[in-house]
Symmetry: C2
Subunit: 399 residues, 2 copies
């Protein structure tokens, strides 16, 4: 039996040195030793060992602060990570350097239902192309997010409802063999959450929820500064929380699931209905011109003053707010970040969510709660995938 309380969080010295160089840039040996709070001689020896390897290099003398001058170290310039964000209908990729600055990017529409072999073959083709264009010489690691539950430990999707053919497909193993480097696989909402916490609006926030409203709806969870993935890797799968009094049939077979009521697919369905009924002349015009409608059309029409579209967004925001209000009472976070494709609905959506959460949750739980839009937008996923890839390469023991 392990002690029941009192963990303190840390990692190996070398991992923490590499993370500091990633997040802060070049630092002096003295500064690193001071920041780590470990025995100084041991930290300096670990830094020397890193410089002797190929991840860290000397970067000249540090600015003098009196006394003996320390030397700067920094991450090697040739470190490259691949970050892959597989959505239900898209592939987004970035190649980044050791500090997670993007050096190349690529995005294209794709259908996750084409299965793991075709999808991962396409990922490999894109990577090979980026390599040929000089984005990288070799990859240190790959981080990849997929739109479904993942066993983080095993590196495989687990019963993902939107991904036929992917159940327990060895994504990590296949990509690792193909590219000769370690690979980390996570859920697409989790990588978005990791991205926002690393380089977005949630920097240094320990308890936060990341609401992704895209075709479906999901939630990334940070508690105590760590992503929480749940017992089976499906924590945050709030799209199938049932709303009483709603009868829309969901793809999962239940009725009244949150994402059957609101989300990209539900909003496109509702838009079609109000266009055809004539309730929204603006949408009827768009339907006649384009032959189809999407959530973006609803957002544009609402912004242009269409009351029925504004109502659709408010009603959806209200349902999201009702679910979030319960989760706020339950998990008492410091921040909720709203992202995903429907974030394009903007402040009309956010205002409704805020209104419902602040009305329905306990005042104590909302006193310090911020509800904000994603800062990284569509890049949140690849940023988070790059963070995971670097954690892996730098020696995280979280696998």
């Amino acid at each position: 039996m392990v002690p029941s309380a009192s963990p303190f969080v840390q990692g190996t010295i070398s991992f923490r040195v590499l993370c500091l160089l990633r997040d802060c840039g070049a630092l002096s040996r003295a500064d690193l030793a001071g920041r780590l709070g470990e025995p100084r001689a041991r930290t300096l020896a670990e830094i020397d060992a890193l410089v002797a390897g190929d991840l860290v290099r000397d970067a000249g003398p540090a600015a003098s602060r009196g006394g003996r001058r320390s030397t700067l170290v920094e991450l090697s310039a040739d470190i490259r990570f691949a970050a892959v964000d597989l959505g239900a209908t898209s592939i987004d990729m970035e190649i980044s350097d050791g500090r997670l600055e993007p050096v190349a990017g690529y995005a294209e529409p794709a259908d996750i239902r084409s299965g793991p072999k075709a999808t991962l073959r396409r990922v490999t083709e894109i990577l090979t192309k980026l390599q040929a264009e000089g984005a990288y010489d070799r990859l240190r690691s790959i981080g990849i997010g997929v739109p479904g539950p993942v066993s983080f430990r095993d590196g495989v999707p687990v019963s993902p409802p939107l991904m036929p053919g992917w159940n327990r497909y060895p994504v990590r193993e296949v990509l690792s063999r193909e590219h000769g480097c370690p690979v980390v696989v996570d859920n697409d909402v989790n990588i978005m959450a990791i991205g926002e916490r690393h380089g977005g609006v949630a920097r240094s926030v320990d308890n936060a929820l990341f609401l992704k409203v895209g075709t479906g709806i999901g939630c990334g969870i940070y508690v105590g500064g760590n992503v929480y993935r749940g017992t089976d890797g499906c924590a945050g799968d709030i799209g199938h929380i049932q709303l009483d009094g709603h009868t829309q049939l969901c793809a999962c077979g239940n009725v009244g699931c949150l994402e059957a009521v609101f989300g990209g697919a539900a909003l496109a369905r509702d838009a079609l209905a109000v266009a055809r009924s004539g309730a929204s002349p603006a949408l009827a015009d768009r339907l006649a011109t384009q032959g189809a409608l999407s959530a973006r059309d609803v957002g544009d029409a609402a912004a242009g003053g269409d009351a029925v579209c504004a109502r659709l967004i408010r009603d959806g925001g209200r349902q999201l707010g009702i679910v979030l209000a319960g989760l706020v009472s339950f998990i008492n976070p410091s921040m909720i970040v709203v992202g995903g494709g429907l974030a394009l609905l903007g402040h009309m959506l956010l205002a409704e969510i805020r209104s419902v959460v602040y009305q329905r949750s306990l005042p104590l739980a909302t006193g310090n709660l911020r509800i904000v839009m994603s800062e990284l937008g569509p890049r949140a996923g690849v940023v988070g995938a790059a963070v995971l890839a670097s954690d892996l390469a730098y020696g995280s023991q979280e696998q």
Copy 2:
């Protein structure tokens, strides 16, 4: 900025040694050194330092396993902790030894609304009485749970709705000064959760929810093996999650809160209504005899075949199940433990909760989910308070 991932959990060597002796009893020095996985010489030196202090003593030679014989160490026999569980209407206390075995206990009705001074004075009176009766010579530490949100770091209740006069009252400081030992303060549901995980049905379960259904309703949360308390100390306060379509006025001012619909107070209210309306002859009889009704009467009448009482329990279980189903999709736990006063409703309540959760949550999230009754029952709280007290005395850094 701290590293974004890859913590590994541990505590100081001496803390981990003391926890092993608490949880396993006497162990040989060799065994302890092996279990900790730290440099052997350092661990043995730490053990010697502990023996030189007053928490640990030598306990003779260990059974020979060939080679040089190791010696046993164990916790000192005179270690005493006080565990206090303040409910809305009760005080439960235990004095335990270093291994958390109870050496004395005491319980009495009380009203938390009599305020902090009167309540803590009564706690001190009881402790003094237990000391006079020989339960302890001196206390190493005190763990106390209160029925409201707590700032764990500050050791004070925070805006507790059921506890007028307690807001930010310095519970830790007052008790510590009075009894000359360190004190740890937590929420009453959290100490129940800690108790069940330490010595009850949830031993070694890392992701678990502890549903307390008493006068009100609350939830303790374990994620990754640690209690999660939330940003403001009110995580798990699910009694005020609003249920759509319900109009019962809650003490918090909102309508349709879970605990306005079900829970000890709501069930007593509903029992009175069906007794007076004549819908339940069994309850009408009890009301005539006793002059009042409680949740226990509903449980007894249902067990005796009263259909209306069975319906009240099932309806309540259904509402609990609806809220839990959403939380299961969200947090994907391995186990839900049901405790608190209304656990006396037994398997009729449990069956309804299970039915709703398994129907409404995602199959992936419920495949490995167990929903069970509390094993420690009314003792869960004091066991958890004793665990917290011992963690504090043994050097936990979680304060």
